[in-house]
Structure formats: C-alpha cells, structure tokens
C-alpha cells in the first residue's frame, strides 16, 4: 500500500468536497460566515459582567432583545458597550435571578419580556449556556477560542448546516402515522458578532419562501404549546414568579444597580397570539408593577412600534439602529421622571 498516494488522494477529495459544500451554502443558500452563538460564547460575554462592574449595562431576554438592540448605537448614545446576554427561546426571569445572585453586578440591567416565554419552567431552550458558564473546562474555553476563526470564515460551519440537521428537515420523509406533533428545528435567522449582537438575516426579509418557513415555524410552535396548568396552579406559580422578580430587583438595587424592563415589538399573527394567550395587563403590567421598575412597552411609543418585523418577531436589521436610538431616549426620560440618573445611560 502506497500510503503517501492514499493520503494525497484523500486530502484532494476532502479539499474539493469541503470547497463544494462551502460554495453550495454561500451561493445557493446565501449563508454568510458568522459566530455560532455557542454556549462558550455566552460564557465569554457573561464573564465581562464580573470584570466590568460597576458600569456594566447588561441585556437579558429572548432573541428579541438580542436582535433588536443595536449595541453600537447604544454605546454611541450612552458611552457604554452593553453586555448582550439575551438567549433565544429563553425566559428572561431565571436569568434575572442569576444576575441578581452575582454580587459583582451593580450596573444597569435591561430585561426584555417576551410574554409567552415567561411561563416557561426554567430558562428554556438555552439553559445549557448558563450551566456552561459555571462548568466550562479549560479545554472548552480554549476550544471556543480556536473555533472563532473558523466560524467567521466558513459559512457551512453553522448549527443550521450540520449534516444531520439538514437531513432531518428534508421534506421527502413521509409522515409517520400516529406520531404526535414534534417541534421542528428553528432555522438560522441571524448573523452574529463576537459581542453576541445578532442581526436579522436579510434572507428572512427578502426571500418570501424562506420567510414563510420561519413564520410557519413560529406558528407551529405556538399552536402546539403544552396546555396551561389549572388556573389555580397557574395563578400560584405566577404569584411566586412576581415575588421572585421583586426580590431580584430589590437585591440588585441594594448593591446600587438598577433594572428596567422593555417589551420589544411583535406583529401580525404572532402579536395576535400574544394578545390572546398572555394579555398585556396580566403579564407585562404585573411584572413591571411587581418590580416597581421603569417599563417601556413598544406599543406605547410610535417610534418604537413603527418598525418592520419581517417574520413577526424580530426587528429588521435595517430598523434596529433607529429603534435602539429611540429606546435609549425614552428610557432616559422615563428614568429621569423617577429621579434615576444612571452613568450607564450617559446621564
């Protein structure tokens, strides 16, 4: 066996194959190389909270908070580069508790509320990210650093383009009779930066077919949420949740920090669903009321609601700067009304 010949042949085939795979995703599917939003990346950004007190501004919430806030605009207006800790498909309130328990944090915490998610038991989809922050091994830490150069150079190096993820979502698989509903994977809808700023992917906006896949996924997930618990159980759980929110906010304030709540916009079918499933007065007003904090609901301000949300749930990347600018201004005013002048807000 001529091993050098074997190795050269294998290397050439792999190079051609990987090149073709990369070209397919870039050209035919319009993918761009972008950070993978890994647990390690979250942990890396999370550690900035420890190192940057007391002037940190931290964003927590679901993907809406992550997609809608423009960190550059925020910095331009406040002088502070925010720490983006929002996690897609995740409930902000357990993360609020997590930050409240961090004695190093005494800055401004911006909590994004996505109504259906506050009833999730626990953190939700990205609970592993928080666990990873506590458990990360030196090997994982280094692996994350080594992964970044690949993430920013290879479009196919993305969780949406993993071989078995791609195979799973093909439509050629027939339905299996008797199989209960199963949640489909959420497709890639963003490009992400090292600081975890996520921008809604242009393709979601200008490719109607892809847009329909994404909105179809939201609808499919929301229509198949597990049935709510009996009213008395739900009421007791919600009251406990409000108590926890109040306790967490108090704890942060005792250290000199401050907490504000925001409700990013949604539209169309998604908004209607939220109106019915988690009415504003029941969820939003209760949480903000329990916290005794400043709360900015997008629907109360034309400059916050007049933005495009191409797939009903996240602001277009073309509108996020304008939205963030307006949000900072409103937050400043609302905080000033309460006599809160925070260095993190540039005031």
């Amino acid at each position: 066996m001529s091993w050098p010949r074997v190795a050269v042949l294998a290397a050439v085939i792999v190079a051609v194959g990987v090149g073709a795979w990369e070209a397919y995703w870039r050209v035919a599917q319009r993918y761009e190389a972008s950070y993978r939003n890994s647990d390690g990346q979250w942990a890396e950004v999370r550690r900035r909270v420890d190192a940057r007190e007391p002037n940190a501004t931290v964003f927590i919430g679901s993907s809406r908070t992550q997609f809608d806030i423009d960190l550059d605009v925020w910095q331009e207006m406040t002088g502070v580069h925010g720490i983006q800790l929002a996690l897609e498909g995740s409930n902000a309130l357990p993360i609020l508790t997590h930050i409240a328990e961090d004695e190093d944090f005494a800055g401004l915490l911006v909590v994004g509320i996505t109504p259906p998610l506050v009833f999730f038991p626990g953190i939700g989809l990205r609970a592993d990210a928080v666990q990873h922050y506590f458990d990360e091994t030196p090997s994982q830490w280094l692996g994350n650093k080594l992964s970044y150069p690949l993430e920013t150079r290879l479009a196919f190096y993305n969780i949406d383009t993993k071989l078995f993820t791609v195979l799973t979502r093909q439509e050629w698989w027939p339905d299996r009779p008797g199989l209960p509903w199963q949640q489909q994977e959420v497709r890639k809808i963003e490009n992400m930066r090292r600081d975890r700023q996520a921008d809604l992917w242009d393709r979601v906006e200008d490719d109607p077919e892809f847009n329909a896949i994404v909105t179809g996924t939201w609808q499919d997930i929301l229509e198949n949420l597990p049935p709510p618990p009996p009213p008395e159980v739900a009421q007791a759980a919600f009251e406990a949740l409000l108590e926890q929110v109040a306790a967490d906010v108090t704890r942060i304030r005792e250290r000199g920090g401050e907490v504000v709540f925001i409700r990013p916009p949604s539209s169309d079918w998604f908004r209607e669903f939220e109106r019915q499933a988690s009415p504003r007065e029941m969820v939003w007003e209760s949480i903000v009321g329990a916290a005794g904090a400043v709360g900015v609901h997008s629907e109360d301000y034309p400059e916050l609601s007049g933005v495009r949300t191409p797939e009903w749930s996240h602001i277009s990347s073309r509108d996020k700067a304008r939205w963030t600018r307006a949000l900072v201004g409103i937050l400043r005013d609302r905080m000033a009304e309460r006599g809160l002048h925070r260095p993190e807000m540039g005031s």
């Binding site: 050098p4 294998a10 795979w21 030196p138 090997s139 692996g143 993993k162 199963q182």
Partner: protein
Amino acid sequence: MLFNSLTFVAFFALVLALHNAPLPWKVKKTNLLLASYLFYAAWNPPFVILLWLSTIVDWHVAKKIFAEDRQGRRRGWVLVSILVNLGLLGYFKYGGFLLENWQGMMSAIGVTWTAPGWNIVLPVGISFYTFQTMAYSLDVYLRRAKPADSLLDFALFVTFFPQLVAGPIVRPTQLIPQFREPVRASRDQLLWGLGLITLGLFQKIVIADGALAPAADAVFGAEAAVPFSDAWLGTLAFAGQIFSDFAGYSTAAIGIALCLGFSLPDNFRFPYAAIGFSDFWRRWHISLSTWLRDYLYIPLGGNRKGWHRTQVNLMVTMLLGGLWHGAAWTFVVWGGLHGLYLGIERFIRERWGHATVASTAGFRLFLALLTYFLVNLTWVFFRARSFPQAWSMTRSMLGFGVEGSVLVLSTYLVITVLTVTIGMLAVHWYMRSRRLEEVVAKSPWWLTGLVWAGMLFLIVITQGSGDAFIYFQF
C-alpha cells in the same frame, strides 16, 4: 480534553511536533508526561493530584513487594495499592451510591436517617487509570512482572494521554517496555495512525452522535412508555451508539499512540458478529474483560474448582464488571444478565456443543443474531434511567404492550436507525474473522483513499457537537 475537539487537534499537533523534534529520548518522554498531565488537567486541573497519588503509591508499593520475600508483608503491600485505588474509586464514584443504599436499608428496618449531600464530581476516567495502576502492583505481587526501572516510564504508563481516560486499559508489560528505547513512527505508521484517528472520529461524530444518538435519546428520554417498534429502534440505536462511541475512542486512541510510535492493544473486534457470549466478551471491551479475567475471575478460582464454583465466579465477575460501569443497580443487572448468559452458554456448550448442526453456517448466523438480540436486551438496563423504565422497555420489546405507549421516532429516525444498524451488522459479520489491516492491505490504494476521504468529509460536514464520549463517565 476530548479527541473530538479543536483543542485536541491543536494539542496533538504540538505534541507530535515535539515528539519528532531532534531531542533526547528522556526529554521526549518528559514532554509526553507533561502533555498527558495537561491533557487531563484540561478537564479539571485539581484532579491531576489523583493521578500523582495513584502513581506514587503504586510506584513504591511495587518496589516494596518486589523486595519483600515474606508473603504476609507482600500481601500487606498489595493491599495498600488495592485500598488506595479502590478507595479513590469508592469515594469519587460509589460514595453517593453507597450512602443512598445505606439510607434505604436503614429505612427498611425502621431507622430514619438522612444521608448528607454528596455532590462529588466524578474525575473523568478514574475507573480506567485506577485499574491500570492496580494491575501494575498486582503483576509484581503475582510475580508476573518486575517493577519498572524508571519513575518517568512508570508515570508515563499511568498517564499516557491516548488511553488515559477511556482505555484501552493497558498492562504494564505491554507499555512500559516501549518507553525504554527511543521510538518514532515511520511515515507509513504515521499515516496509518492518522487513518485510525479518522475512523475513530467517524464512528464517534458521524455514527454515534450524528446518526444514532437522536433516536436513542428520544426513546430513552421519553416521558411515556413507547411501543414495540420504537422500543426496539431506540435500543438498536443505543447498541450502535455505544459501540461506535466506545470503539471509536479506542480506535482513535490506538491511532494517536501509533502516530507517536507506540502500540496499544485492540479493544474491540466487531462484537456484534459474536456467536455466543464468551465470543462477545472476547470482542467487546477486550482490555476490561481480560483485566477482570486475570485479576478477578482467575484469582477467584476461575473454572478450576468445579462446575458450581465456576458459575459463581462467572456471575461475581460479571456483577462487579457491571458495577464498574456505573454506580447504579441497573448496571449491576446488566452485568448479571451477561453473567447469566455466560452460565447458560457454558451449560449448553458442555451438552450440545459438539452437535453437527452447531458448525453449519446457517446455524452460526442464527446464533449470532440470537446473541445480538440478547445483547440488546441487556443494553436496555445499561441505558435506562430507572428500573421502571427498563421494565417498561423490556415489556414493549418482548411484545407485551404497555398501556398508554406513544410513538416518538420520526420516519427519518426510523430509516436512519435501520440503515445504520443493518450496515453495522453487515460490516461486523464480514469482518468477523478478518483484521482491518489485512482488508486495507488487500484493497486498491484509490479505494482506501476514497473511503478515508469520505469519512473525513462526513466528519467535517457533520461538524460534531463536542459531546463527551459515553465511557468517560465510567
């Protein structure tokens, strides 16, 4: 550090470069030792102390045993090694399990006692390196080997990173002599080693994690009971997953060692083509089964003390082998089932083993499939989260419908599990009496290149999730 991680790629490239640099052999060995500590510390740095403890104790114990003629003293010294190594294992791995069972026993006799919290992190690979170092002292005690001449060689034997955390469990006589003289892989050895690493990672990343884990996780993670079809598919998926995961690790470990010029023993020989259970255990986790044979079964008397005692010895060995895998009664049952199978097989062989039908190809194929079927039943106990789940799965698999059972696998997963399982069984059957080296040597070079490229390409596009190897937890 996981083999299937970018950290390892960078680490191994550096180690390989240093190992091929023009440095004295002692410096190269020191580099390997430091690299091995680094490899282990990359999980949890303080646990390197356990490696040092195990190394120092067995280094001194073996020297004392060797220098001592009085049997009582020799026994005393070997007990020190056993107590330290099993003590480490007991504390870190079985402490919580023992407390929990003690609490249960007390409660059964009416004594209410609550065990203190036992939140001890299990040091990765502790079951492997404690057995390896214990074997060193036992070999010297049993006069099978002399103590190592050099502490550096012995420390490297204990710590050698390719096989440190998930085997193969190497005997001192296999590895320590290889450290004496300078070794460096030839060009062909290096390429063969890289090929083995590719094969191992393909098994782990593509087959175990990519193709089979989703089905196994869905079935064994289901809240409700699953019906016959999904119970079987989930178990077949797990059978393929655990083989590909563990054999993948061993293959990669052998490849990594070979790239450095060292030879590690085989740990798997296509076990799903086994005809009977004694054959299965000659093919599955060979380094553990031979360890248990040499240091437990034979010292217990093996098959030299009559039929009944042989059966007891077999069962004790397999029960402890089960417990070695994890601190839970489900693992003990898994071992017990294998012990039972081995006992029954021995009984049948003694009575009907020479029947003409036993050597026909069709009957051998039938026996292989029967073995595979029975092995799958044991995997249920290995993988299940609890006994109720294991019973529920077993009932479903044996056709006793479980009320309220719910399908969990999509058509995609059904087809994937069946395709991979049939493919895996075909490969195991074809390779049953062959060696990989021979098959590759007889293949055209372009075919070998094509297969290698195919595996590598699939590894790259599967991307991998960085999941730990299943056997790390043991």
